[in-house]
Symmetry: C2
């Protein structure tokens, strides 16, 4: 943020905004696996849209070691798993929790309690969907390879597309239709819109055939995806090498047999 | 809350506390399936510990119909799934989100931002564990009956006990040991302690044999379970008919073949 703008914000009579609140002097450290989008991607999208100053630690010189050391270090608040975000003295884990924190600081969520909880609730519902996406290729648990659970993966994926995708996307379609606005909760973008962009992009990557037939049923989500992708900061991010390509180690994996 | 105590709180010079904050005049409506503990139980435990005024709507005369009507009603914030809580004009969904809301109002979470996010983060990790418990009997998805997925359920349960239970419980054991206090985050109970009580109780119900051998590895969690169970409001609740018994429609199910 430019100093002139900062001075503007702090001049007498202007709304009082703390340095932390405008993101000044705060360089966030994001800790996540360096070779996948995974759950970290929802945080990256928020940081990028906000134009926040951040470093994607495990993608730097320290690599994964820097991340695992943080998890093992004696600390009062060790995260259970990546992603986690270091924000000054705080270390915040759980994707939706990180977004809750960032949303309040970077204008990516409403300030009032009710709307703020509502946006968080929507993110938690997206988190449930993300877990179900993961389970399509890992129905027997995260500890086994996909190759060791191909048959149950096929069955779970059928169920996922028959019951779960229509249920989740139908819910968000209804909200978009009833809201009738640019973004899910109004004219201002929130981290939920960024996450729904990622859901559409991910389903397209993992299941191109199935999505090809399904997209006409979710015009609201497809339109939202396009509006998010066209935002300057997001477009610049998607074109940069900071955006890791989808691949078969992440949450959204393209296995032809699951897309039949 | 007695009026005399209320007057005490509001007399000049005392800390300013809003009526909402002390839970006055607010009768919560909890909406959840009436015949299982399920995810609603984490909310029930918080309401009971807080001594909050609430009605478990679907267990009343309106039954499940009262709940589904709320979900289908035209509303700006329809919940995706139960449980959800009506608190005045707010309708709050997602278990961890409800607890975040209640925790701040009833002294079941710290007030400061960092500790409050930390407690929420722990709850989200518990939510992940709860979902993995559910997947032990539903690895192919929530849409199929257990009877249609017995073989994969057996495999997922083996993986769950080999890898996931030690990982999750080891994490909370470490926190309890390092914290060295009565409850997970200090001397004051939070909704996370209530939820961990439920985890221990649930694992005991679903997997009595496995837990019998495993409990010596988690003395911290067993101790915490006992301290929570001994709290007057929780004890009274557990002895009342408001506490639904564990059964094979909930999250924690006892199937002998999975407990071998």
């Amino acid at each position: 943020m430019r100093l002139s703008l900062l001075r503007e914000r702090f001049k007498p009579g202007s709304e009082i905004v703390s340095l932390t609140e405008v993101g000044m002097q705060m360089r966030y450290e994001l800790y996540y696996w360096p070779e996948i989008q995974g759950r970290g991607e929802y945080v990256r999208l928020a940081l990028e849209e906000a134009g926040a100053d951040y470093v994607d630690v495990a993608r730097g010189d320290g690599g994964i070691g820097a991340m695992t050391r943080m998890m093992e270090a004696s600390s009062a608040t060790p995260p259970f798993a990546p992603p986690f975000l270091k924000a000054g003295k705080l270390v915040i884990g759980q994707t939706a929790n990180i977004l809750f924190y960032l949303g309040g600081r970077h204008g990516l969520a409403p300030k009032a309690e009710g709307p703020r909880l509502w946006v968080h609730q929507l993110q938690l519902t997206i988190a449930d969907l993300v877990l179900e996406v993961h389970d399509t290729h890992h129905p027997l648990g995260p500890g086994l390879y996909y190759e060791d659970q191909k048959a149950p993966a096929k069955r779970r994926t059928e169920e996922f597309w028959k019951e779960r995708v229509p249920k989740y996307t139908g819910y968000f379609e209804r909200l978009l239709r009833d809201g009738g606005s640019t973004y899910l909760t109004g004219r201002r973008i929130t981290y939920v819109d960024l996450s729904l962009f990622q859901i559409v992009a991910g389903l397209r990557y993992a299941f191109p055939k199935r999505m090809g037939g399904f997209e006409r049923k979710i015009p609201g989500l497809v339109g939202l995806h396009d509006r998010v992708a066209a935002r300057p900061n997001i477009r610049a991010y998607l074109e940069s090498d900071r955006r890791i390509a989808f691949n078969e180690d992440g949450i959204f994996r393209h296995y032809k047999v699951l897309d039949a």
